[in-house]
């Protein structure tokens, strides 16, 4: 009996230590205030609500971009612009919103953080993958204008799905760019936002702590990501589905068990969702690798106890930043790869269909939607810190300014009045070949590993099955 009790107590002790370890070491929260001379009341230095507010603005803008009725709609455009470029108060969170038992705690953007927008944080460089030398904000303004007069976000003549184009591009031009080309780059220098001073007057966090937190916020992962599987993260983002009970999704998200999902720390947003999507296949670990590197960096900052970082500490932090950047780039490349495969598959289906066939419009819409995701992600990839050079140029040429439509036409330019210029040229077969080349390019230059929708997977398998060609056997 004594022995039994002893084993029981030991087990309980181990499990308690385990819980504490999870809370202390594996959750991105409750890091203490380390700032010297801080006189406020806050108990933790962790803060990234501005980034979460921008995720809510992004999700809402995407939803609004699919609300058009095919006619010019200044009201809708104004509303979309308020989410993109405005800072006005009272903006409701259109998405993510409560869905059945999956209760979302916040209703308005201001409940997360006030006065935020996306335009101010959008990549200002020229977007070479689209015509007319538009900058990131120019391109989003252009697409928002088009989306406001599109039919539920679709332009089936030119082949555009604006919600997808807007959303996927923002994932690069705002979230990825801000994180890897700002907070994880220049903010890690010795001079900018030092660790022995507050980020801003009166703040509970040091310069470096907050810069690091902001980068984590842009990744959009729940604070307790390391205790979740990619499938669970995926379900949270989907807020359940027909086959997956929303109650389960709530259970995975609701870390503090208050029956609601706090967008500030428990929700999954786009970048983390796509990392989990790639990881679901089991070949990659983007989500845990990125979150783990963020946690390691944050632990290093907490351990610095508000002192200025040494060169060695900053070097270590840059190491974590590099892991985050490379893996984040990997998730964008994986998504680009996946949608090149989807576009290819849609083209196979469309080739065998006539416009009068049942399901033709649905198939065409899928094609246009997938192309929007492909284009959006391929442009997002080009907004990071690295100059992708020849890879980006090739990608842009292969994907083009628009998909080849069943009438053989493709958008090749945008005129001064913002109208699309179409022309024939690339054949259906050649454009399918381009999709295969996109996948090959991403394997060769960006080493994608998850490779969802790999259109030449069987070729690898058959090549291996037939063995090496090299032979000195003589008959």
């Amino acid at each position: 009996m004594r022995k039994f009790l002893s084993v029981g107590v030991s087990t309980l002790a181990i499990s308690m230590i385990g819980s504490a370890a999870l809370a202390d070491g594996q959750v991105y929260s409750n890091f203490p205030v380390t700032l010297k001379n801080y006189e406020g009341k806050k108990k933790t230095s962790v803060s990234y609500t501005g980034q979460i507010a921008r995720h809510a603005l992004h999700d809402s803008l995407k939803k609004l971009a699919g609300k058009g009725n095919g006619q010019p709609n200044p009201e809708l455009k104004a509303k979309m612009m308020s989410y993109f470029a405005g800072k006005d108060k009272g903006r409701a969170i259109v998405a993510p919103a409560t869905k059945g038992p999956f209760a979302v705690k916040q209703k308005g953007v201001d409940d997360i953080s006030g006065g935020k927008n996306l335009a101010g944080k959008t990549y200002k460089g020229t977007i070479t993958g689209m015509p007319n030398n538009m900058t990131g904000p120019d391109l989003l303004n252009f697409w928002i204008d088009k989306a406001s007069s599109a039919d539920k976000g679709y332009d089936l003549t030119n082949g555009y799905n604006y919600p997808q184009l807007i959303s996927k591009f923002i994932m690069g031009a705002v979230f990825y760019n801000q994180a890897v080309d700002g907070y994880l780059d220049e903010y890690l220098s010795a001079e900018k936002k030092p660790n022995d001073k507050p980020y801003k007057k009166g703040a509970a966090y040091t310069g470096k702590e907050h810069a690091w937190d902001e980068a984590f916020g842009y990744f959009g992962a729940p604070a307790h990501t390391l205790s979740l599987t990619p499938s669970q993260v995926y379900q949270i983002a989907k807020q359940g589905s027909k086959s997956k009970d929303p109650k389960d999704a709530l259970g995975f998200a609701d870390f503090n068990k208050d029956g609601m999902v706090d967008l500030k720390s428990e929700m999954v947003f786009a970048p983390a969702y796509y990392a989990a999507g790639a990881d679901k296949g089991g070949k990659t670990k983007y989500m845990h690798t990125i979150t783990g590197a963020f946690l390691d960096g944050r632990k290093l900052l907490a351990a610095a106890k508000g002192e200025k970082l040494s060169d060695a500490q900053r070097g270590q932090l840059r190491g974590y930043a590099s892991v985050i950047e490379n893996n984040w780039e990997g998730t964008l490349a994986e998504a680009t790869f996946k949608y090149a495969g989807s576009v290819y598959k849609d083209m196979v289906k469309l080739k065998g269909m006539k416009a009068t066939d049942d399901g033709y419009t649905k198939t065409l819409k899928n094609y246009v939607k997938h192309w929007g995701e492909l284009k959006g992600f391929s442009l997002a990839l080009q907004t990071g810190k690295k100059n992708l050079g020849g890879t980006a140029s090739t990608l842009n040429i292969l994907v083009g300014f628009g998909p080849v439509m069943p009438d053989g036409q493709q958008v090749v330019n945008i005129d001064g009045g913002g109208k699309y210029v179409r022309a024939g040229g690339v054949t259906w077969g050649n454009y399918m070949k381009n999709m295969l080349k996109v996948q090959n390019l991403l394997v060769k230059d960006l080493s994608v590993k998850a490779r969802a929708n790999d259109m030449t997977k069987e070729m690898d398998a058959l090549t291996k099955a037939l063995g090496e060609s090299e032979s000195a056997e003589n008959d």
Binding site: M432, K433, L466
Partner: protein
């Protein structure tokens, strides 16, 4: 340096451990069993005598066999350097697969209701047949074009045959064999995937094409041996027997340029180069005019370049073969050797 050495040893080991290779230990063992059974049934030899006959030191440690071993070991190092520089199967298959989209303006999937096993069977047979017929044609060209015969001659200067004679190959030939396999496999892979999608799979045994596995397991190594195993006149019009391949190695002018086939005799039958085996072997092996002096490294590696160059000094010779001192135009490089040969050698005795 250490990793290079390990890579080299790995390659040598792979020859014996990989069922896609002819000298895989399993195939060597099955050939031994077949040869032993053959000797027992035809000559009623006891097991020790069978072993003595099969592992005759005069065969396995002859100057010719030692030449085989030198080539086998050195070629592995040579191909370690050359192999990665040759165009890969995957690259060619990808290029063809992509090009098919352009040629047919899209993707064409045919016979979509056919069961997967039917497509797998078709793919496996196609690869086997394409492999075999292209091996036949390449082999024929190696004999017929003097510029190439100079290199292939290295294989034919073997005067005793062991299973390792299959690797008595000049590196230039090895490159040609590699490119042939690359092209043939790439064509098969690209076209089957394009038209049949992911139903195209290989039926394999121990990782090797099922047909090739059967061929190798049923005594393919006896074709390079002194075991005179015939299949009979009828079967030898379809399958190349070990005895038929030994005829291919004959020094006799009457056997010149016969039996080029690897597995199937059909190609020789159709190409007019078929020779069925007689009851007894009554010929020597090797190349006329080159007996007994072709097993040193210089002869195995360098002389072929000189002879090949000599054959292309005059463009007409390169295409039609050299004019001989007898003023006759031979059809092939090998015939040229026979027409210029010295005294005819005595036939070797059967083991």
């Amino acid at each position: 340096m250490e990793s290079l050495l390990l890579d080299y040893l790995d390659r040598v080991g792979d020859m014996f451990a990989n069922p896609q290779k002819r000298v895989f230990v399993g195939y060597l063992a099955s050939s031994f069993v077949i040869a032993a059974a053959f000797f027992f049934l035809t000559r009623r030899l006891s097991f020790p005598f069978i072993c003595k006959a099969l592992f005759d030191k005069k065969v396995w440690w002859s100057a010719s066999a030692k030449g085989d071993y030198k080539l086998l070991l050195i070629n592995q190092a040579v191909m370690m350097g050359l192999g990665p520089r040759l165009i890969g199967k995957l690259a060619v298959a990808t290029l063809l697969f992509e090009s098919l989209h352009v040629w047919f303006d899209g993707r064409v999937l045919i016979w979509t209701d056919a069961p997967g096993w039917v497509i797998a069977f078709l793919f496996t047979v196609t690869v086997f047949l394409l492999d075999d017929v292209t091996k036949y044609w390449l082999h024929r060209i190696l004999h017929r074009w003097p510029v190439l015969w100079a290199f292939h001659k290295v294989h034919h200067t073997a005067e005793t045959l062991t299973p390792f004679t299959v690797l008595r190959t000049h590196p230039v030939e090895a490159v040609l064999f590699t490119l042939r396999a690359t092209l043939v496999h790439a064509v098969a892979i690209a076209t089957f995937l394009y038209f049949f999608g992911d139903r195209a799979t290989l039926i394999a045994v121990l990782g090797a094409n099922a047909f090739l596995f059967a061929f190798n397991a049923l005594g393919s190594n006896l074709r390079h041996s002194h075991v005179w195993l015939r299949y009979g006149r009828l079967v030898e019009h379809v399958l190349i027997s070990p005895a038929q391949h030994q005829i291919h190695h004959s020094i006799e002018s009457r056997h010149c340029d016969r039996n080029f086939g690897a597995v199937l005799a059909l190609w020789d039958w159709m190409g007019g180069s078929l020779e069925v085996a007689e009851r007894k072997r009554n010929f020597a092996l090797g190349v006329a005019g080159h007996r007994g002096n072709r097993n040193n490294l210089e002869s195995l590696y360098l002389v072929p370049f000189v002879e090949s160059y000599q054959s292309i000094k005059h463009p007409l010779r390169a295409i039609l073969g050299p004019l001989t001192r007898r003023g006759r135009m031979p059809e092939s490089g090998r015939q040229a050797d026979i027409l210029t040969m010295g005294p005819r050698p005595k036939p070797s005795s059967r083991p």
